[in-house]
């Protein structure tokens, strides 16, 4: 196989509150022989909130981020669902609206950049599943996760709206997604089915609508627990923050104690590839990862 090479857009979270995500991403990329070039020039994607305030500014900033992947001539991979949605949405809007693209490029020209539309944008999960290939991954598994029931938590912004995601994220159906389930199986684990796996964690309404957000988090944790999961795995650091850090509020909101370790997608893959807990930053979790 030709060596895979991507431009990595880390987003803010992986550089701040979930350092373990960046660490584990780089660790498994090295094990798998995937080259990731960090886009240090990139800014925050606005996390689905900046566009509520200033849609045009959000487009300009996201387009600027993509410019840096284009300069390298590489596909951009994201490691946060919400970064993925915002970036792919920007790309889609600019690629389908020449007038808007011209307006954005007029601004980018002021700093010597031009958005062309030549780089694809995809979440690292889909780069693994589709470009690297699950069979190739399974062949490299050193420590099969066969003793674990693992609950996949997909996160909204990687699967909906499908019209957009089908262009960038491999076209799985949001009502019955399979990529993360398939990845669990490739790592030797047992995938757990539960109703909340493709539902919302509530993260984006946490400050302004704390009760709604906490109930959604509680439902997700309870669903995974009732399906006999030993832990949850997610491709989204925002889902991770909600599920890993906020179990107290979630338990209170649904009137039931819910707490379960939550791993980032690359941490799970890393365990199967034989990385050490330290290489995967497993010490950074609030809900302790006590099984390794």
């Amino acid at each position: 196989m030709e060596k895979l090479k991507y431009a990595l857009y880390t987003g803010c979270t992986a550089r701040e509150s979930t350092p373990e995500l960046l660490k584990s991403t780089l660790a498994i990329a090295e094990k798998l022989g995937i080259e990731l070039v960090l886009l240090d020039e990139a800014s925050c994607c606005g996390a689905s909130h900046l566009q509520d305030y200033d849609d045009f500014l959000s487009l300009v900033l996201n387009a600027r981020n993509i410019c840096y992947a284009e300069k390298l001539g590489l596909t951009m991979v994201t490691i946060c669902n919400t970064c993925q949605l915002n970036t792919a949405m920007t790309k889609h809007r600019l690629d389908t609206n020449p007038e808007l693209k011209a307006r954005v490029n007029a601004k980018l020209a002021e700093v010597g950049l031009e958005y062309k539309g030549t780089s694809e944008v995809t979440h690292f999960l889909y780069a693994l599943v589709q470009d690297f290939g699950l069979e190739n991954l399974a062949a490299l598994v050193k420590v099969p996760l066969s003793q674990f029931n693992i609950a996949p938590f997909y996160g909204c912004h990687n699967i909906r709206p499908s019209e957009l995601q089908n262009l960038s994220n491999g076209g799985e159906n949001p009502y019955n997604p399979t990529s993360l389930d398939d990845l669990i199986i490739a790592c030797g684990g047992v995938n757990v089915d539960y109703a909340e796996k493709n539902k919302c964690c509530g993260f984006h309404a946490e400050l302004q609508s704390p009760h709604t957000a906490a109930v959604l988090t509680g439902n997700a944790l309870a669903g995974a627990i009732d399906a006999n999961a030993d832990w949850i795995v997610t491709p989204c650091p925002l889902c991770h923050l909600k599920l890993d850090v906020q179990h107290h509020g979630a338990s209170k909101a649904i009137g039931r104690d819910v707490k379960l370790p939550v791993l980032h997608m690359p941490q799970m893959v890393g365990l199967a590839l034989g990385c050490t807990p330290a290489e995967l930053g497993l010490n950074h979790h609030v809900t302790k990862v006590d099984f390794v």
Binding site: Y53, D54, S209, A213
Partner: protein
């Protein structure tokens, strides 16, 4: 599978009669379905050939009246528009047929949509305009102006989005995606003069657009591609443009991103929470913040990472900002 012209599918159909039943139950039917059949054909066959008491709504059979919306394996659909073979492709050959909301059932697949219509009525879903009693010409809308509605006028009030919205399922005050789309539809109409009042309605805390969790379920559920969440984003923008955004945690949360990006390129997560909540509100986050700090999840101000070429970002924020708060 595409080559098949018929196949066996097992249907589990939700049954409940408000007047006689204590609990709902399911009836199971295994039927041979053809590649031409839609869900409504199956409901008709069950009713005509197996159990005449099965109740469901249908009228136009043409994807236009919006009454036949139900859920299949949790996915909201129009029974008259969804082909069985497409559903089998997603879910396999075991399909569960349920009403849009199991909490609001009157009989079987028929629900009481009162809450939907109340929310709809709440946003003044009509043109507000002084009418010339004896017009001498038509009030024409140019194609360019008509495009501003962004297809929000395609809504058939089927309720698929409304009963797929998790924010609404938890917070009954929330106005919900269909009514927001209607609020946008009339506020974006060049003939309308009621936008400001509507924007005030959707700007209320707990009820309004700020309590959307951004799950994109409504965009996915809509059989008419109305894309309610896109209209919700536009309502947010219109609220800021009209200068009626209140100074509260929700608005500061949106604005705070611009401040943070201006300063670091990246988001200063801790500062965003402090700015959004205010110095007092932020206190309730202290227990979590401590737990995060203990596990190396909080970056100290002096270690805040910054984007490379930050001057470019600053310049773009200066030149590309279109709104003030």
């Amino acid at each position: 599978m595409d080559a098949l012209t018929s196949q066996q599918v097992t249907f589990k159909v939700f049954r409940f009669n408000e007047e006689t039943d204590y609990l709902p139950f399911y009836n199971t039917y295994t039927l041979n379905v053809t590649h031409e059949e839609v869900v409504l054909d199956i409901l008709n066959r069950i009713k005509w050939d197996h159990d005449g008491s099965l109740s469901y709504r249908r009228s136009c059979r043409h994807g236009i009246c919006g009454v036949c919306s139900i859920k299949i394996n949790g996915k909201a659909i129009l029974a008259c528009k969804s082909r069985l073979f497409d559903l089998v492709k997603i879910f396999g050959t075991d399909l569960t047929i349920e009403p849009l909301s199991t909490k609001r059932v009157i009989k079987d697949l028929i629900i009481d949509k009162k809450d939907f219509w109340e929310k709809h009525a709440h946003v003044n879903p009509y043109l507000v305009s002084d009418i010339i009693e004896e017009p001498t010409s038509e009030h024409l809308v140019s194609p360019h102006d008509a495009e501003k509605l962004n297809e929000a006028d395609y809504c058939i009030q089927c309720g698929a989005c409304h009963y797929s919205c998790p924010a609404l399922a938890i917070n009954e005050q929330f106005i919900g995606p269909a009514a927001f789309a209607a609020a946008y539809r009339f506020s974006a109409d060049v003939r309308d003069e009621g936008a400001l009042e509507r924007l005030h309605i959707v700007n209320e805390e707990a009820e309004g657009v700020w309590d959307c969790v951004k799950c994109m379920e409504c965009a996915e559920a809509c059989p008419k591609d109305v894309n309610p969440i896109e209209k919700i984003t536009k309502l947010h923008n219109m609220i800021f443009e009209a200068g009626i955004a209140k100074n509260n945690v929700a608005t500061r949360h949106a604005v705070g991103f611009a401040h943070s990006i201006q300063k670091h390129g990246l988001l200063d997560e801790g500062e965003l929470v402090r700015y959004s909540e205010g110095n007092i509100g932020v206190m309730k986050h202290i227990p979590e913040a401590l737990a995060m700090f203990k596990n190396g999840k909080i970056v100290m101000p002096w270690n805040m990472p910054k984007s490379k070429n930050l001057d470019e970002i600053k310049k773009l924020i200066q030149s590309s900002s279109t709104v003030k708060f």
